[in-house]
């Protein structure tokens, strides 16, 4: 009936018999309960690993004193030199009884011969087990085979305490009672289990030593001597090597993994509350680089072991066996049971296509057989931005002062053309005006004009600023302010989550049902929010003993407003401090005031309000249904149909504005719909068998078909009734009266794969794993469609060798090596293969000469490449796993080299063809090479100091990336980071991808003599002047030109490291998580806006204090203040490049669990409350908002920081209940 049970490894030492009076089988019968059900009942009271539960089944069964029954049926056996298993099978066939046994027990039993005719079951069993140290028990229709325990071993004669009773309490090191410890009187069959309070009571006749065992704790033997009360403290045994983890289409024990796999501790992961698992992953796995932003959706960018592609290096996420294409951020992180990162080819290549950049395998929580368990978790917290982390910007008076200094710096004098400011007057010193703006029927009168009007025509002035004449559209009146926009813009934003889980099950199946509500507000835009409602149902049913079917399904609905336009962090930096929040009538005041306008500098407070009706709604169904079929012993077939359906709707209303520098004259509504449907059908067959006890084989073959569909629809209408633009009921397309536009696209791609995997282990000592996958992708033309991707890995468990036997401090030592190839096609458009001609209305022409008609065209919109084929990622990995000191110290080390051949690079044709604006999209061609090598180290130490339990985890990752070929052209560059300054980043052969590229500043011109000498010797675009920057003539040709640019910064970190500390003392627990990014550069584009005369934006204090003066000389950082300096901010220089190093306390959490003694009466298993602070401090020299910007933007543009929303700090309070 349950062969699976027998497959579960049970350590031999657990097979000790225990006996406890409560487990009286007679009573069970009286209750009309089958022993099996009773066993389940017992299991349900245990909360430990499955292995322990199963051992309990056998243990209990072993001591059930059931009289022999007489069976009508008789058994005949005639077996010569056959395995005991075969005998059992025969008995089973004839009797209908199921026979339970631990495979290890009979592994070493030599072939037996049995010859009986028409005997009872008892006789048959007795005969079969004759001479073997095995006993049997018959329970109901089950036979349980166990090792014979000799109760009257002469060597263990009872000494003094015969027939006396010992009681006691078993606690852990923190004094918390442990339930379910088996207490065995050594060398007897007598034992007991501790109750919920850790108490036991045991007759100790026949022994003088108690053995305390529990799967979670170190075994302990205590001599009872004359004691009547024996209290014992057990040390927690942490041996996660036996943890079963999900890897490629199968599971394996962590200790047997020979590929490079990071098993992430999900408790640690979830200690960082977030809406998104990618965000939680930062620093949790060696070799995984995560970069988050403060954006409200909480998403983050994940890179595994550097970069594998120019077309996107996102890892593949597999959730419950299904690739999640609609974005991992839709997954409710609270549902995650386990998370593994597959990093090398041998581990990942079974996933073939899309696995090239690593695979993140997630399983969600499943129910366990037993009565319903309920857990409730919730937290509520506040996200806030530490305003001290902002660079200091100028206030209204300082801005004026700086402006005046800049005019003087340009050699201007009072009265000159160009002297003065539309707000601060034309005088010798800047004067803050009374009003910054009176709109005069469209025209904008600024402060200076109004001040002069005040003198020249007081009557007109009075009427202009008379509130009676106020009209928001035509006659706005705005007083001067002195606004600290950073202070006004950033707000404290709550975040909350409520999670309810039900789980349980029976022999027939298990279920897990979870509900979650997550709600987060934005720290920058008051109207922004992100809400997610999700429901997960994971269920599994046994249909008879051979078939198991189930499904894991998540439904989610997200409702958010993430519309920032104008309410961004950048706006709060840029907008002039002279602008108040509101005009004299309480309407938004903004950038229309003369002399204050500038790119995107908007009134952040009112922009957020304006956007309050914008919505994104996201409906998702994700999961799979599957069936497992046990065909014969060891052979399992599985079929799984996975689906990922995402439906997104967006509604973006752009109201008419009156006070913008770039007003929106016609309001509009844009509605978007996006439907994505992916399905994955996977079929696998696995055969597992151990031959001659030494050769453990497992073979897997499978097929997989994946189909992705994506539909987009978007529509816009202009001109909504102006008096209804604040009425969301009118925010439907049909209410618009003006121009209507629409667009829609559809795309599809598909994959078909065959794959196979073989695992072989010899005596658990030598491990081999080999995989091969054949992938076919619709993205390639038929002739190049198929790719074969092999991989292999070898492992050697040195610690299992005989010569290592004596080394007690070493528990496990394994070295492993792997090599493999993975194909990649991520990011490639399905139409890459085709020449695509379109009749695009944007490429039409009004050939008739009429003013409102056009003729259609055919243009080439995409050039196809029939030759494109798979990118090949070739990874070599050498690793070491070690476990020391009773598994309290573990080390994982991996060194790798990841080479990418046939890198898909977008063709860069000569500019004498069709390139640039409105030209066809160039195809991707296999014309690049790149490699990454690196090292990942993880070290964990656990232990205790008196009652303080600790666990320290250290993670270290370092990679080096270099591009070795692009497009057969040594001059070819892939540009990235398109900014107002031009293309900041450049990828070339011989360098890592995405290097910052520009001019190097060579100090200042400090004297006129230096200027003259320079002007005489150099031909240059720069204008040499005292106080300005010199630019290095790198090629020494006396001409400063494009050839003098060089790599001025490297966005890749030297290394990343993290420290995770868990402490537990009595009922308290503490988690601290530090993340350290060392090295690498950030291109701080924010400086372009705040440190130069760029638009009429607010300026930094830096500009005031660090601009060149004769006194500062070369100690200055910026050129002299000069209102006419247009060149210093025109070019990409190393002024913008800053060190990206930072050390951040990502997480600090303090928890308290109510003592079990209090909870017992309340029938609550666990109550834990905690407070937590995220990002409490960041130590960095970076002058921007958030140094964690390395991976923002696409890979060719990483590390460019353009005034992002900084990652907020967070304080939250949480509570967890378990019933």
């Amino acid at each position: 009936m349950r062969p699976l049970l027998i497959e579960i490894a049970i350590s031999h030492k657990d097979l000790k018999t225990i006996w406890t009076p409560e487990l009286n089988p007679i009573q069970m019968y009286k209750k009309n309960t089958t022993p099996y059900n009773y066993i389940i009942y017992v299991i349900s009271r245990y909360k430990y690993a499955l292995a322990m539960k199963l051992s309990c089944i056998l243990l209990l069964a072993n001591c059930l004193q059931v009289s022999a029954f007489t069976y009508a049926q008789t058994i005949s056996l005639q077996k010569e030199q056959v395995s005991l298993v075969e005998v059992f099978n025969a008995i089973k066939q004839q009797s209908g009884y199921h026979i339970f046994y631990d495979a290890r027990l009979i592994r070493s039993i030599p072939p037996v011969s049995v010859n009986v005719h028409d005997v009872s079951l008892d006789e048959a069993l007795t005969e079969s087990l004759k001479g073997l140290e095995l006993s049997y028990k018959v329970v109901d229709k089950n036979v349980i085979i166990s090792q014979t325990v000799y109760e009257n071993d002469p060597e263990n004669k009872p000494v003094a305490l015969q027939d006396s009773v010992v009681t006691g309490q078993v606690t852990d090191e923190l004094g918390v009672p442990i339930e379910g410890v088996s207490v065995l009187l050594k060398s007897t069959a007598r034992g007991a289990l501790t109750d919920v309070d850790g108490n036991y009571r045991l007759q100790v006749s026949g022994g003088n030593t108690l053995v305390f065992t529990n799967v979670r704790y170190q075994r302990k033997e205590v001599s009872i001597a004359s004691a009547r009360v024996v209290n014992v403290t057990l040390t927690e045994l942490i041996n996660d090597l036996e943890v079963v983890v999900v890897t490629g289409y199968s599971t394996e024990q962590k200790k047997d993994i020979v590929g490079s796999v990071s098993v992430v501790n999900t408790d640690d992961l979830q200690s960082t509350p977030s809406s998104s698992v990618s965000n939680q992953l930062q620093g949790r796995a060696a070799g995984v680089t995560v970069s988050a932003s403060g954006d409200i959706t909480g998403g983050a960018k994940v890179r595994i072991r550097g970069f594998g592609s120019f077309t996107g290096s996102d890892p593949l996420y597999i959730v419950d066996g299904v690739p999640m294409s609609g974005g991992i951020d839709n997954l409710n992180p609270n549902d995650i049971e386990s998370l593994q990162v597959l990093k090398d080819a041998s581990a990942a290549s079974i996933y073939g296509a899309r696995a090239a950049n690593g695979v993140i395998i997630i399983t969600t929580k499943k129910g366990k057989a037993g009565p319903v368990k309920v857990t409730v978790s919730s937290y509520y917290g506040i996200n806030y931005t530490d305003k001290n982390s902002f660079p200091t910007l100028l206030n209204a008076q300082e801005y004026g002062d700086l402006y005046w200094r800049s005019m003087r710096g340009a050699g201007l004098q009072i009265g000159d053309a160009g002297w003065g400011h539309p707000q601060y007057g034309n005088g010798a010193e800047p004067v803050i005006p009374e009003y910054v703006l009176v709109k005069n029927d469209g025209g904008a009168l600024g402060g200076t004009a109004l001040e002069s009007l005040k003198l020249s025509n007081p009557t007109l002035f009075a009427s202009m600023v008379d509130p009676a004449n106020y009209d928001f559209a035509t006659h706005q009146i705005v007083r001067a302010g002195n606004t600290d926009w950073v202070e006004e813009s950033f707000i404290n934003a709550p975040q909350q989550s409520y999670q309810l889980n039900f789980s349980g099950g029976s022999t027939n199946g298990t279920y897990m049902l979870s509900l979650n509500y997550f709600d987060r507000k934005s720290t920058i835009a008051k109207s922004n929010f992100f809400k997610r409602y999700s429901i997960r149902s994971n269920a599994s049913y046994n249909m008879g003993s051979h078939v198991n079917v189930g499904g894991n399904v998540q439904l989610n609905y997200n409702n958010s407003n993430t519309s920032l336009s104008g309410a961004s962090a950048g706006s709060s930096w840029n907008i002039s401090p002279l602008i108040p929040l509101y005009d004299i009538s309480g309407n938004p005041a903004s950038s229309f005031a003369p002399g204050t306008s500038g790119e995107g500098a908007r009134n952040t407070v009112t922009e957020a309000y304006r956007n309050r009706f914008d919505r994104n709604e996201n409906h998702g169904v994700f999961g799979n249904v599957y069936g497992d079929f046990k065909i014969i012993e060891g052979l399992t077939a599985r079929t799984s149909l996975g689906f990922d359906l995402v439906s997104r709707e967006s509604r973006n209303f752009t109201p008419q504005t009156y006070e913008h520098a770039e007003n929106i004259s016609v309001n509009q509504l844009e509605v978007g719909e996006n439907n994505q449907m992916s399905w994955t059908w996977t079929n696998t067959m696995t055969y597992k068998r151990t031959f001659a006890e030494k050769h453990a084989f497992s073979v897997l073959v499978g097929t997989e078909a994946i189909n992705n569909d994506n539909k987009l629809l978007s529509a816009t209408r202009l001109n909504y009734p102006i008096d209804q633009q604040d009425n969301p009921s009118f925010h439907v397309l049909n209410a618009g009266l003006g121009n209507q536009t629409n667009s829609g696209t559809y795309s599809r791609n598909s994959l078909f794969s065959l794959f196979s995997r073989i695992d072989y282990a010899y005596e658990d000592k030598y491990l081999l794993n080999a995989t091969v996958r054949r992938d076919q992708s619709s993205k390639f033309a038929e002739n190049n469609r198929t790719g074969y991707f092999p991989a292999a890995a070898l492992g050697w468990r040195i610690s299992s060798e005989n010569f290592m036997k004596g080394i007690n401090w070493l528990d496990d030592l394994k070295v492993r090596a792997s090599w493999g190839i993975i194909g990649n096609q991520t990011g490639l458009n399905n139409e890459n293969q085709y020449n695509v001609y379109v009749s695009d209305i944007a490429q039409s022409y009004p050939i008739s000469g009429q003013n409102s008609s056009k003729s259609d065209s055919y243009t080439l919109s995409r050039i196809g490449n029939l030759q494109a084929g798979w990118e090949e990622n070739i990874t070599t990995n050498i690793g070491l796993d070690a476990s020391f000191l009773h598994n309290t110290l573990s080390l994982n080390l991996d060194v790798y080299n990841k080479k990418v051949d046939g890198l898909l690079v977008q063709n860069q044709p000569a500019f004498t063809g069709a390139t640039g604006g409105s030209s066809p999209t160039q195809p991707y061609i296999n014309a690049g090479k790149m490699y990454n090598n690196g090292i990942d180290i993880g070290v964990t130490k656990r232990g205790n100091i008196n009652k303080l339990q600790y666990e320290v985890g250290l993670m270290f990752s370092k990679y080096k990336n270099e591009v070795t070929e692009i497009l057969d052209n040594p001059l070819a560059t892939l540009v990235g980071g398109n900014t107002r300054l031009g293309d900041v980043a450049r990828t070339v052969v011989g360098m890592p991808i995405g290097m910052f590229y520009g001019y190097e500043i060579d100090g200042f011109f400090n004297t006129q003599a230096e200027v003259d000498a320079y002007a005489a010797n150099y031909r240059t675009w720069l204008v040499p002047e005292v106080g300005r920057w010199r630019i290095k003539d790198l090629n020494d040709d006396k001409v400063i030109n494009a050839l003098d640019r060089t790599n001025i910064g490297n966005p890749h970190p030297n290394f990343q490291s993290s420290l995770n500390l868990n402490l537990k003392y009595k009922d308290f627990d503490l988690n601290a998580f530090l993340f350290w990014n060392q090295g690498g550069d950030i291109f701080n584009l924010s400086r372009y806006y705040t440190d130069f005369n760029t638009f009429n934006l607010n300026r930094s204090k830096r500009m005031m204090d660090e601009s060149w003066t004769p006194e500062l000389g070369d100690n200055a950082k910026l050129p002299k203040l000069d209102i006419l300096d247009t060149y210093s901010n025109q070019n990409i220089t190393n002024y913008f490049v800053e060190d990206a190093s930072y050390l951040r306390l990502r997480n600090l959490q303090l928890g308290y669990s109510l003592p079990a003694s209090i909870l017992k009466n309340a029938k609550v298993d666990r109550v834990r409350i905690y407070v937590q602070a995220q990002n409490l401090f960041t130590i960095t020299k970076f002058t921007g908002l958030d140094p964690d910007a390395n991976l923002q933007g696409d890979d060719l543009s990483m590390g460019i920081s353009n005034r992002p929303t900084p990652t907020p700090k967070q304080i939250l309070f949480g509570i967890d209940f378990a019933f």
């Binding site: 078909f752 076919q776 695509v836 259609d856 080439l860 409105s918 640019r1045």
Partner: protein, 581 residues
């Protein structure tokens, strides 16, 4: 199973046409429309048909405008500090070679298409070659040394130097394209946007004139002959003989476009079913040059670029005889009065000295009606007067009353932009006469252009009027009298003609090209004019300080660095950078 897999993995391009669709009469015709569609450039001021950046701003007619820090690469163009990585420069280069590529595609497709009559075949070839000639002309005069790519070129990595390492001159190929076009295009085309025979003749003459300026002296004779033919026989697509419009402003009004003065240019349309914030067939340059003021021209949603210089405005001063000052027009005492630095509230009286009436159709200045938008109020219509100076450009704005009719969202409008209008033909003819013919004949031709402004002075569409019907400013203009000293010598005549080109064609994207080709012909016009402009204007707008023009390298733009890099072929780059870069 395997065949099932094949179907499963097969996914055609969606919403697209196959090549076979194109090799049909309809396919070829629509592909040709694709070649036209790049004329109305939507890729910013650098490639817009008005040649605002490389023609006008580079020639000193206008400032970049907007605010400091906005599109700083345009300042490099203005100050002759362009490097190979200038983004506007790169956009221009790529845009026009893309146009050439579309013309070549049309010609290649034509070769394999069936079902076209010989006549249709010839007509399409002629139009495609005309367009190709146009795109090449734009590139040739800006870069000089560029390779020739046509429908027979297999790999576009063609070198711009010969085996001896000398630059290859592709003027002859450009000439050949227009020669084919003028010999094969019909006189009347139903679609007014297509060039007719006479448009091709005019463009041919223009190309030959540039060639002649650059040293092919014999070409002047041919130019003279072709232009005379045009003036005698030239007709529009509607078979109306070419002539100047009665009113100057008719050139800048969608109501009157494609008329008798229209030789050939770029068609714009709005509300034609195209979509987007800036409809692709509209005059998208308006998005850049529109004002940011709610009641200002351009729907208040522009970026405030392209602001005329004081130096440009000063050209419009006239003497007591109603004639321009051909010398010392840029000296300070003669500056046309402006409101630079003056707030909109402060009182201001515009210039009272006599001015050429064309000024107020070209430039928006304080105190003068701006079309039907009312009196231009000064500072409040400028985005950042300190950066851009006190003026707005005026030729490309449509009337306020036509908002919605000739304008679309953003601030695009339907106004066509002429590449060659008849006034240009007359002035080219005058120039050739001055160079190789009779200065008297040159005077007559210049006077034909001036005479439109002299006549018809009561029309509010010819001389800008205030609401009360009086002239908006003290306008005065006369023709050059017989024996005028301005035409007393070849040299003087050319000076007068160059000046007249600015007055008549100002801000229409000609200036930099004109000055440089005049400099090609006489050796110094470009150096003198452009440096005089910078030294004058930099006193008013300090950011121009330090700019200087030297023939080498500034006569040509650098070939974009990426164009050089991407021309790598067989172990070397095939494009040689221009001299001095």
């Amino acid at each position: 199973m395997l065949s099932c897999t094949t179907d499963f993995l097969e996914q055609d391009a969606i919403g697209a046409y196959s090549e076979s669709t194109l090799a049909t009469p309809k396919g070829v015709n629509q592909t040709l429309i694709g070649a036209y569609s790049l004329l109305n450039g939507v890729n910013g001021m650098a490639v817009g048909p008005g040649q605002f950046l490389f023609g006008s701003i580079r020639g000193g007619e206008a400032h970049k405008g907007s605010a400091t820090g906005d599109q700083p690469q345009m300042i490099e163009v203005q100050k002759f500090e362009v490097t190979g990585v200038n983004s506007s420069n790169q956009a221009f280069f790529q845009w026009h070679y893309n146009g050439i590529s579309r013309c070549n595609s049309t010609l290649s497709l034509l070769a394999i298409s069936e079902g076209l009559t010989d006549k249709e075949n010839t007509q399409i070839t002629a139009e495609a070659r005309f367009l190709r000639g146009h795109y090449y002309f734009m590139l040739k005069r800006l870069y000089g040394n560029i390779p020739w790519i046509d429908e027979t070129t297999a790999d576009v990595r063609v070198s711009n130097i010969n085996e001896a390492g000398e630059y290859i001159d592709i003027w002859p190929q450009i000439q050949a394209d227009f020669d084919f076009a003028r010999k094969n295009l019909s006189e009347a085309q139903k679609d007014l946007g297509r060039p007719n025979k006479w448009a091709a003749e005019a463009y041919y003459a223009k190309v030959r004139l540039y060639m002649a300026n650059e040293g092919d002296q014999s070409g002047y004779v041919e130019v003279q002959q072709v232009l005379n033919d045009i003036m005698a026989n030239g007709k529009t697509n509607q078979l109306t003989p070419f002539n100047l419009y009665a009113n100057y402003h008719d050139n800048f009004n969608p109501e009157t476009e494609n008329g008798t003065e229209w030789v050939w240019g770029v068609q714009h349309s709005v509300n034609d079913g195209t979509t987007g914030t800036n409809p692709p067939n509209g005059n998208v340059d308006m998005v850049y040059i529109g004002t940011q003021s709610g009641d200002g021209p351009g729907l208040g949603r522009g970026y405030g670029f392209f602001c005329p210089t004081q130096w440009f405005v000063d050209h419009f001063r006239v003497d007591a005889n109603g004639l321009p000052y051909l010398d010392n027009y840029t000296t300070n005492p003669n500056m046309v009065k402006n409101d630079d630095g003056l707030s909109a509230a402060a009182p201001f009286t515009p210039e009272t000295n006599p001015l050429d009436p064309r000024l107020d159709w070209s430039v928006g200045r304080r105190g003068i009606p701006f079309l039907d938008y009312g009196i231009m109020p000064g500072q409040s219509w400028l985005r950042d007067q300190a950066a851009s100076g006190p003026y707005l450009s005026k030729k490309y704005f449509t009337l306020k009353k036509d908002d919605g009719k000739y304008t679309a969202r953003g601030s695009s409008n339907a106004l066509n932009i002429a590449v060659i209008r008849y006034a240009d033909v007359l002035l080219m003819a005058a120039e050739v006469e001055a160079r190789i013919g009779s200065t008297e004949r040159a005077r007559e031709l210049v006077n034909r252009v001036r005479n439109r402004m002299v006549m018809n002075s009561d029309s509010p569409e010819n001389w800008v009027k205030k609401d009360d019907g009086t002239n908006a400013a003290n306008y005065d203009i006369h023709v050059y009298p017989l024996g005028s000293s301005a035409f007393s010598s070849r040299e003087n005549a050319l000076k007068a003609i160059l000046h007249e080109r600015l007055l008549e064609l100002g801000l229409e994207g000609h200036r930099a090209y004109d000055v440089i080709r005049f400099g090609q012909a006489d050796g110094n016009t470009d150096t003198e004019e452009l440096n005089a402009y910078i030294s004058f204007e930099s006193q008013l707008r300090g950011y121009l300080k330090g700019g200087t023009y030297s023939k080498v390298p500034d006569m040509l733009m650098p070939i974009p660095q990426s164009a050089v890099d991407n021309s790598f072929f067989n172990g070397a780059v095939t494009l040689k950078q221009n001299p001095g870069y």
